[in-house]
Symmetry: C2
Amino acid sequence: MTTNLSVSKSTVSDAHLRHLPVLEVPERLLLGPGPSNADPAVVAAMNRQPIGHLDPAYLALMDEVQELLRYAWQTNNQMTYPVPGTGSAAMEATLANVIEPGDRVLVGVNGYFGNRLVDMAGRYGADVSTIHRPWGEAFSLAEIREALETHRPTLLALVHAETSTGVKQPMEGIGALCREFNCLLVIDTVTSLGGVPIFLDEWQVDLAYSCSQKGLSCPPGMSPFTMGPRALDKLDSRKTKVANWYLDASLLRKYWGSDRSYHHTAPVNMTYAIREALRLVAEEGLEVRWQRHQATAEKLWAGLAEMGLACHVDKAYRLPTLTTVKVPNGVDAKAVTRLLLNEHNIEIGGGLGDLAGQVWRIGLMGSNSQSDRVDTLLAALGQVLKQVG
Amino acid sequence: MTTNLSVSKSTVSDAHLRHLPVLEVPERLLLGPGPSNADPAVVAAMNRQPIGHLDPAYLALMDEVQELLRYAWQTNNQMTYPVPGTGSAAMEATLANVIEPGDRVLVGVNGYFGNRLVDMAGRYGADVSTIHRPWGEAFSLAEIREALETHRPTLLALVHAETSTGVKQPMEGIGALCREFNCLLVIDTVTSLGGVPIFLDEWQVDLAYSCSQKGLSCPPGMSPFTMGPRALDKLDSRKTKVANWYLDASLLRKYWGSDRSYHHTAPVNMTYAIREALRLVAEEGLEVRWQRHQATAEKLWAGLAEMGLACHVDKAYRLPTLTTVKVPNGVDAKAVTRLLLNEHNIEIGGGLGDLAGQVWRIGLMGSNSQSDRVDTLLAALGQVLKQVG
């Protein structure tokens, strides 16, 4: 349509105009702490036109996602849905909804994400206490009991799967302790959901969050969140509004629940993706999927040992989804990750925080948890170590 | 790989297990307030494997997105990037970063999204005042001056394009007033970016937000945000941390800026989409794109008039992207939208808030702003009105 309409009196500046070619993206094998490669069926699901966020077809999709997420987490929580953001948004959602200014919050810090919980909780006005373990270790039930006795928090936050260290926190008994001390329990399952056994209700967990781009094998952008009845009681008895509009569960409940009230315009194509990702989890079955992750990880660990490389975490607490490998003395850790990326198109992660420069982080998650990926990685790593050695 | 590994002592419950077919989504023509249909090249861009959020190829993509977004908004602001959430997250980001408890905030309320700004600003501890116009009208420069004199706010929030009413707020002179009163100016461009002339720097706007799923013709899930030097000064002189970790621009600046520090795992495939969407905006050119939106809207308005339907907003303040149409007396507004969806696969919106039941909302945005879409809609609407009439 040609037109002579003058739509503005001002003149458009071309200072930031760029004429770019069609998007090209390198093909990587993503074996770092995440994102992992998505299942091809999941990325293909995004290649569809969006539909409206109040379309009956979309509302039906929301129900499917909620139900499949309950299965993946092993929970009956009504309030189980993905928040419209990445994993950090889901983390913030758990804290924002149940913390009021002055509430005492206890955080177990044994890695980077424990520290993030401390930072976030403080922003919501919590009086934050911490317990610490070295990066690479887990907390014992005895030290958690002692800390609950000392600090008497209203909320205990623990990281089930520390993405920075590769540690799996044993959960048996912690939920019962929290009930004894009348305290809510929130756990980080970012690197465990879909890859590591989780029994949220059996563990008496009140709030949890995760992400899409690891054990679920979906691109990042929409992140699982759940809250149980005790957390809901705390939400309902708040004296102040949730200090975060976007993540306010009392508003989101009306959209995800039977009211279907408009809250935000949902990330529709991300919903397509996470629905497909969760469908594939259900199709495989949790038990089989967890066994697959464990078997693939054990193959990696054996292969690393054969190469003379040591794991940072004791096997009893080692995540199958994410392995921290000690950087041998004299080896330039960054040179290795750079060569793997540039010459082999393989991404692995470096160390974060206390472990910077000391470990590599290798993720085998979702559809990347396969024997042939281990072979590919070990072969490439062997070559690169010879180059830098 | 078969294995006999026992990975858990507990038994998986199948209570929420569902075996679902592969995702099917109806094909809709999305002519409501948003989401609009995405450009086919944009949804196709999502059908790629993610890459890492610190991959050099991803960092290059971030630079492209920032630069193209500066062009689309006509701003030189260094801090111009999409936040990892939907439009409401970008809205909240503008307020969260520059409001400290006790700050006086003035909001112009002439529709649903003005009220949302009030709600959000209150959650960040602002002392909020409001000025009002009926839903369907705009503010005059004189009443804005008077309100600034009365309330002496540190921040004025206005909606450039009210998605609930279809009103375009004239911006000439408002930025200068805000400088005179030493107050920051934030505007909502959710329904204007990519479809309606915007000259952020010329207008002396300090903060703005938008979405991806309207004038940019991209699926929802990643949302443009920008802040200029005066807003950055306010951020840098805060006495308190930003009360929202996920949207904290002082942290995001280090990721989007030259530091490239890890903050969150970016929504990688949404970044592919918005990069392609912005590339297409640049390819078409802003002036041509704005003219296209204006011409398509004028065709709609003429067609509606021929059918005896009236627009709710005076032509001088009418958005080309979103038209509110008065529901004729005796017509069941919801029956019309339902029939359009179910029998014609066309989505238009109903009225929100003060306009519930009184108007329909018709969006012609991005790749849907085309003459043939107008023909399709008018034909279907004519049929449906006969059915319900």
